[in-house]
Symmetry: C2
Subunit: 423 residues, 2 copies
């Protein structure tokens, strides 16, 4: 740190150690600031592979690394495990759950998004969403237990209800979950049960809109749907789910018995955005100025999924590359402020869009490049392994993958969280 | 199955998929029986490496494999996820928590052991023990959170209390936990904190008896103690812990502030032993006949940690090789019964004893062979990797280990189980 003697070092508080917060922190490594990075969890999570933990292909530590470890060499950062419960925008301070108050010169809010049930909070208990490692382990437990319950079922109706799976939401997460689930039922569990044939499981993907992967061109949506069909996923589009409870769901007035429903439909901004005195969009995201600062609060920035940014009439998407770019941009603006220079507005560089569907199937949209099938899958694999944080993890994940795809096996099929429930 | 037509196939119910139950199941693969293997969990656990999951060196799935997967090719086995809540020894039937009753011709109880607090049940909340993967993840969470709390502590007293660790019990598990914990504090976490130096953590190993690893010869106990000293563990022998609560423990009348106390002192047999009408020893283990059957119940067997077997005036130890041998022996006796042949009594073949202490330190006692230090550690590593179930796991575990020992890093330092508590 090249600090001017006599002047206090400016303090930057960054809330959230996801892609936006971590990239902002790293980009300020050589600047004359002291940074406090606050997160509720002790790890950075590589969210694009979270569905693999939920579907027992990877272990939780394979896709996460402790923030302290990632930042151990960056001496101007202090990592603080804690939950922000209050923000005073005027004083530029945040209050933590343990009562500590952190006051700063620059505040960066990058606390991301959570699932939204569109006013149906009671659905949450029956259709869990996938945002954290704990979510992934809870979903894994449900999926694996469903087959166990089907095996022990006393009646055909009960068996069918346990073998009916539904994934609500046809975005990338929903497509990944449905595709992998079909693969597990058809291949991974083959020969392991004596009273059921896991391949008889029905996996349904429910999308209220007209097509899956709506952020992709229509031709790739159609390809994705064809690949899902081939995997045995029953794709239903154009019908919104009307109700979800412990026994199943209702679709166009008809009740379907399904004991396992997963939620991949809605995303809402982190509730911390509401603690700022700032305009927000329908999903609760903070509508920031061109430099990602909060209107009327030039020392407060919002980056990542919590920020609502429009560019060329379209919203910047809530994906990892956008979050990293916003994080790095906030660091640039803070640096410019420290030097009394003007900072350029944020520009999102679109490097493309990709989604995986299942075993060796994916779609890729990079500018004019449109791929699907096996080639897209290799492309997807390469990109994801390459960007996975931490050298060790990459090697382990590669080996796990090679093994999983060669043998159809998934090594993390371990039910954690207490004994078999007594239902 | 070579089944005699017209005669029903004898039904064998095996309770517990640990070493004893799984080895009994596998040994009956070619016999004309149908087997139901009941376990509360869906996986076989390689318990000798459980301390590595607790200390963040391995992921939970690294040392566990689904029982269904292990046994998928053995067509005379049905795996049932369920908890046994009742046993009718006369009718040879077990009742599961979901109400199902399994009646059989041969019943094998191999439900293992749990921790015992010697009449101090209230200590359990403050000093968790290590028997299951869930236990290991709970201990990992406590260990990692302790350093986080120390970092955020507001006073020197609080900091010290969070940096004081105690492990109660100087057997193999206690020695492994204390040694690894010292290694984490001194090496793994170096440079990661800004307000504490993790190397200042005090790790104490409390053994009420005169020496650690009392099942080894005295010379090896002394070697182990010297190796623990070198790792920085404060070994206290000859003093029983008098009390444990949320703030610490009392030793010879003196209160020590320590927020993290782990329990590796006592083992009690699984409570299922008490459901049999059979004599039991002080630890609750069932005193079986020479062929491992329960006195007066020739069709019921007990194997593994739940069985109390004396040989040449000494108890057969509660370790994995003994459990496997008992499981295999029960299978032999059942086979002999089916053929109306006499079965030999059980003889434990002692292949030796080994315990690891920490980074490249272990003790080995195989007959006349006594090793300690690096050579013993390599021996220990080879044996443990060799016996780890499932080819894939072995490769992954080896890579994780190579990485951990080369870099001093532990890849599973992920705090799971909700957000940072609000204490």
């Amino acid at each position: 740190m090249d600090k001017t003697p006599g002047q206090p070092t400016p303090h930057v508080v960054i809330v959230g150690g996801g892609f936006a917060g971590l990239w902002a922190t790293r980009a300020l490594a050589r600047d004359p600031v002291r940074i406090t990075l606050v997160d509720r969890r002790n790890h950075h999570l590589f969210q694009p592979l979270l569905y693999q933990v939920a579907t027992a292909g990877l272990s939780a530590p394979d896709i996460a690394a402790p923030l302290r470890h990632i930042l151990r060499g960056q001496r101007n950062v202090e990592v603080r495990l804690g939950e922000v419960v209050g923000i005073d925008a005027g004083a530029k301070s945040v209050t933590l759950a343990d009562g500590d108050i952190l006051t700063c010169d620059y505040l960066v809010l990058a606390s991301g998004a959570t699932h939204a049930y569109f006013g149906h909070a009671d659905w949450a208990a029956h259709a869990p969403g996938l945002k954290t490692l704990d979510d992934a382990l809870a979903i894994r437990r449900r999926l694996l237990l469903a087959f166990e319950r089907a095996e022990a079922a006393q009646s055909a109706e009960e068996r069918t209800a346990w073998l009916n799976f539904a994934v609500v939401g046809g975005g990338p997460t929903g497509v990944e979950l449905a595709g992998t689930l079909a693969e597990i039922a058809r291949h991974t569990l083959r020969n392991e049960f004596r009273h059921i044939d896991p391949a008889e499981a029905k996996v349904r993907l429910l999308e209220a809109g007209p097509r899956v992967l709506s952020s992709f061109p229509e031709s790739l949506s159609a390809k994705a749907r064809a690949q899902l069909d081939r995997l045995g996923v029953d794709v239903v589009t154009g019908l919104p789910v009307e109700a979800i409870d412990a026994d199943g769901y209702i679709l166009s007035g008809q009740r379907v018995s399904a004991r396992t429903v997963l939620w991949a439909a809605g995303v809402a901004a982190s509730p911390l955005g509401a603690l700022l005195d700032a305009p927000r969009d329908r999903a609760g995201r903070v509508q920031v100025d061109a430099d990602l600062s909060v209107p009327n609060h030039p020392g407060i920035f919002v980056a990542g999924d919590l920020a609502s940014v429009q560019q060329d009439g379209k919203p910047v998407p809530g994906i990892a590359p956008a979050a990293k770019q916003m994080g790095a941009h906030v660091a640039r603006v803070i640096r410019a402020r420290l030097r009394n220079e003007a900072a350029p507005p944020f520009r999102y560089r679109d490097f493309g869009n990709l989604a995986t569907i299942g075993r060796m199937a994916a779609v890729v949209h990079f500018g004019r490049l449109r791929l699907s099938g096996l080639l897209a899958w290799w492309f997807w694999l390469f990109i994801h392994i390459f960007f996975l944080i931490g050298f060790r993890n990459r090697v382990i994940v590669l080996i796990n993958w090679a093994w999983a795809y060669w043998s159809y096996q998934r090594h993390a099929r371990i039910i954690l969280g207490g004994n078999a429930p007594r239902e």
